[in-house]
Every structure is written in structure tokens, then in C-alpha cells.
Symmetry: C2
Subunit: 337 residues, 2 copies
């Protein structure tokens, strides 16, 4: 619970506020484009898309496109349309994920597929995905199109890989990192990288922003996965224990399994295979993960990637954007919800 | 049953053979690209994609890209990659359609989602969709990207519209034509149109090929929808009566409802609402559709659009491609399976 967190001085409790402040004006434009382009003559499309898009997500990815552009002191506005395009890809992915996961809560809200049905979620996802490419085509950069179409293919392949790893207790940390690198980090990386393309910067700067986004994405996902088993974390957010009941192999489980004795491994095999999914089983899972410090170890891995993200942009001139992006990385790994 | 069809002279029994012969060489290249680009390190992706891609579809859309290029006497090979891209969009759509429809047969085969599950079908569809854009980006024509990203958005919106019209007995012929124009004809139109872009032809020729594909697509879909209620049609192909049980509003139903008396309309209301789905109910539906000549009326509408397709390419020089495309339109409306 949040009451457990001792309030620290501002510097030691990193927040997203600088990133939010830095991108506030730009995000107004991005949000206007998102609202405009999710419209359709078919009423169900804006209804369903609006449910998700207004659903309180942080819009991290478009904010990263904007902050990366600010880091490069880019003066134009091409990146607004492209940031909207990135958010559409993300929204399409979320809609399809809900169908794939069958989870009954997303950020504590009923997911779209349970309100509107799987068919509508699949099809509106396809629509938003197509719209995202229409936006890129309007911008007209083949390089951006290449980056984002590649990221989309990598995301989909990563999701299929995650599906294949589901209920497979033998999944390794390496494979897990490959999966989250694809399903989460690829779009973070692309969101940052396209700012360098728009600003017409050299390949090395593209790569630096790509590395920032990629490492930040991995850090975010690691912390998300840690929170799902963190007994001290806020109860808000996505349905606690979803990963457990779905038999998803995330790092806390991988580490607790690797560090466990024979009896514990037998428990994990049963649980991940879907034979132990009760509240008591979840409590036992949380206990074993705590016993082996697997949440803290996962957070430690996340801090490693957050540090790599910060160092990746170390070559850019220090400005408000770099400050905000550094603090966003620290925020990512200090989150408890 | 096919035994009912009296064999006629070749000219009067149009076939796809000329189109198949015209595009045979090109389709070898296209198929090689398809096989190459559906590969992935994640084994489930080529397995699932291969199930569908090798599943015996006619590959009408890439054949149309190839024949359109031949009509224009285009000598290059850029259209091979783009034809593969079109087929990937189509395959992605089929994978998602199966999830949306929940049908248990496709062309008489078990659909991918029943073998591999809905999650895999959704995600591999997303992968193929992304791959299709990667192929377009490699080709590098923003005009082609615009045509195909727009077609993709139109298809998805059409599918959502169809979903909204499902089980709605009051769906009009106009709305139905709008739905099939989007969900089927838009990709036929785009498949033909991009050949003119690659061959660098004037806007008027682009539009002519677009019109050919669009009208052909509508004709194809009308005949597909007629066959689902045609007591004299072959029993092969997709599960007979699927449309009926799913409460899909297709033209045979729209016409039989419009032409029916009060008792018949009461039957249709119940049936389309999902309250009458037995084999006897299906037999009654077929009887009413026969009574009002609604299959034949649907085929007559299809012939109208096939004729418009043929006339749309009337301005091009008569060559083997034009012959084949004309016969393909006649074939589309003479199919009984």
C-alpha cells in the first residue's frame, strides 16, 4: 500500500512531472490529432477507441517522441502526427492484448473486449493500426515508415513468443528479456528514434535515442512485472495476480523458480501449468517470491536498464528535455503501482 | 450439386484458367516472396501462417495485381513484392475474420483459430499485417503505401460495420453494398490500382483499374453470399448456412425479407435475431429465398457489377491480360461453389 512509502525529498522520489510539463503543449496537439483520426462513420469505432484512449493511460510513448524532439531542439511539428501514430499502434496492441489475455481488469478498469466483445476489439484494433500507417504516409518519411512497420512486426512476433512461453516453467531469463524487448521495448525505442529522423540527425543520434527508449521500455516492463507480485505495492492498477493466473513467465517467477528448492519448484510447475490458481495459491506464490527476494531482484535488473537508458543520452547537451528523460527513467524504476 | 450444371461450350462456361495461365510465372515469384516473408524465429508464426497461406485459396488479389500490370504491359518486377503485400493483408484479415465469426469451417477446412486458438490467430494476423507494410516500405512508393494503408482502414471499418449490422433485420441493400464495398471490394480495387502506380500511368488509368477491381470484388462477394443459400450450388466450400446461423444480413436475406409477407417477415426476424438456427430453420430460409428468387436476384446484381468491371477496362488495348480479366469477371458470377 502507498502508506508504506515514506515520503522523501523531491529529488529522491523521482516523478513524471518534468516530462509531463515539458510535453504538455505538444501533447495538446497530439491529443487533438488522436481525437480527430479515431473518428469514423461507423459509430462503434470512436466509441470503442475512445473508451481506451480516454482511459487514463499515461501516453508515455507519444511523450517520449515529443521529449526526444525537444532533446534535439527540433523546431517543427511533424512529430505531432507521428506521436499520434505511435499511440495508435500502442492502442491497437492493447485492444488485441485484451482479447489474447482474457484479463478482466486493465488499470483497474473493465477492458474494452468485455464491454464491446472480442470481435469489435479485434476489428477496431485493426482500424487504429491502419490509421497509424495512414498518418505516417501523410508525413511522408519512408525512414519513419520503415522504423514503425518494423517495430510493429517485432511487437507482434514478441507477443506470439510470449504466448508460446505461457505456462512453460522452463522459460529462461534470456528468453523473457527477448520477449519484453520485442513486445514492449521495440515501440519505446521507435517512439524515440523517429524524433531523430524528423530532426534529420545523424545515425549515431538515432541509435542513442533508440537505446534510450529500448532500455527504458525494458525497465518499465520489468517493474510492471515486479509489481504484479509485490506485496508492498499499491493495489490499484491492473488486476493483481493476472500474470500468475494466466501462467505468464515473468522475471519474479523465473527467479523464484531458479532459486527455489524441490518442493517450491513442484509448486511453481503446478501453478504455471494452471493447476493452482486460487487466492491461496497466489498468496503462496507471493510468499515464495518474497522469500527469494525475486521482486527486489527484478527491480534491481530494472535499475540496470534505467541506468543504461540514462547513459545512452549522455552525449546530448543537457537541457530540460534531457533532465526530464533522465528523471522519467528513475521514475520508471521507483514506481510502486 | 454440380451435376445439375449442364456442361456448356468453353466460351459459355467462363473459367479462371486464362488468368491463372497469364499470371503463372509471376505468381511463382510472388509465392516465393510470401514463403520467405512469413518466416520468423518464432516457430508458431510460419506454422500458422502456412496453414492459411497453403490452404488452397485462389490468391485472386495478387493475381489481379499481376494481370493489371500485364494489361499495362509493365516490364519490371516491383509488383511481385507488392502483390505479396496485398496477399498478406488479405491473410491477416482472414485470420481475424475467423476469430470474429467463430465459424467452424473455412473452404471446408477447420479455420486456424480452432486449431491454434484465438490468441495466436489475432497475433499472427498482426504480424502478417506489419510484414505487408514492411514489404511496401521496401518498395518505397508512398503512393502505394497510401493506397494500401487507406484500403486497410476501409476494410477494418467495413468489418466493424458488418458486425454492427449483424442480427439487424432492418439492414438495407444500400448499407449491405457499403459493407461489402469496404470489407471485400476495397482490397480488390487497391490490388489492381497499385499496378498502375508501379507502371507510372496517369490518374485516369489508375481509376479505371480501381473501378475494375472494386466492381469485381462486389460481384465476387455477392455470389459468395448467394451460394450460401443456393440449394443448387455445390456443397463444398465454406460451411453452408454459416451466414444464416451468424445472423449476417446478406442480400438474399435482405431481398427475401423485403419481398416476404407478414408471416415470413416474422420468421426472418426470429431467425436473424438468433432464435431459429436449426437445420429445419435453415431449410425454411432456403425455401423462402427460393420462393422469392432471391438467389437469382443476387446473382443478377452480381452480373451488373461484373459488367461494370469489364467496361471499366474497356479503354485499354485488347491483349491477353484484358481477355483474362474479362473472363475472370464472367467467372466470378457463374461460380456455383
Amino acid at each position: 500500500m502507498s502508506a508504506d512509502v515514506i515520503p522523501l525529498r523531491r529529488k529522491e522520489q523521482p516523478s513524471l512531472d518534468p516530462l509531463l510539463a515539458l510535453t504538455a503543449n505538444g501533447m495538446n496537439s497530439v491529443n487533438a490529432i488522436i481525437l480527430d483520426r479515431m473518428q469514423s462513420e461507423i459509430p462503434l469505432i470512436p466509441t470503442l477507441a475512445g473508451h481506451l484512449i480516454s482511459g487514463g493511460g499515461k501516453r508515455m510513448r507519444p511523450m517520449l517522441t515529443l521529449s526526444s524532439a525537444a532533446l534535439l531542439e527540433y523546431e517543427g511539428d511533424r512529430h505531432h502526427k507521428l506521436a499520434a501514430s505511435v499511440e495508435f499502434i500502442h492502442t491497437a496492441t492493447l485492444l488485441h492484448d485484451d482479447v489474447v489475455d482474457g484479463s478482466d481488469l486493465r488499470r483497474g478498469k473493465k477492458p474494452a473486449n468485455l464491454i464491446f466483445g472480442n470481435p469489435a476489439s479485434v476489428l477496431v484494433g485493426d482500424f487504429l493500426f491502419s490509421r497509424s500507417f495512414e498518418l505516417m504516409v501523410e508525413d511522408g518519411s519512408l525512414k519513419v515508415l520503415k522504423i514503425l512497420s518494423n517495430a510493429s512486426a517485432v511487437i507482434a512476433a514478441g507477443e506470439v513468443d510470449q504466448l508460446t512461453a505461457q505456462r512453460q516453467i522452463e522459460t529462461s531469463e534470456e528468453r523473457y528479456l527477448g520477449i519484453i524487448g520485442a513486445k514492449t521495448a521495440a515501440l519505446f525505442a521507435a517512439a524515440c528514434r523517429i524524433a531523430a529522423v524528423v530532426a534529420e540527425r545523424a545515425e549515431a543520434e538515432e541509435q542513442a535515442l533508440d537505446a534510450y527508449g529500448r532500455n527504458l521500455g525494458i525497465a518499465f516492463q520489468l517493474v510492471d512485472d515486479a509489481i504484479d507480485y509485490d506485496s508492498s505495492a499499491d493495489e490499484m492498477g491492473k488486476g493483481r495476480g493476472d500474470d500468475f493466473r494466466e501462467g505468464k513467465m515473468t522475471l519474479p517467477v523465473i527467479l523464484a523458480y531458479a532459486r527455489g528448492d524441490e518442493a517450491e519448484r513442484a509448486f511453481w510447475k503446478d501453478a504455471i501449468a494452471g493447476r493452482r490458481t486460487s487466492d491461496e495459491d497466489l498468496a503462496e506464490a507471493v510468499r515464495l517470491i518474497e522469500k527469494h527476494d525475486a521482486v527486489e531482484a527484478t527491480r534491481e535488473r530494472a535499475r540496470h536498464f534505467a541506468q543504461r537508458a540514462i547513459d545512452a543520452i549522455g552525449g546530448f547537451r543537457q537541457n530540460a528535455a534531457r533532465d526530464a528523460m533522465e528523471e522519467a527513467a528513475l521514475f520508471a524504476v521507483s514506481r510502486r503501482f
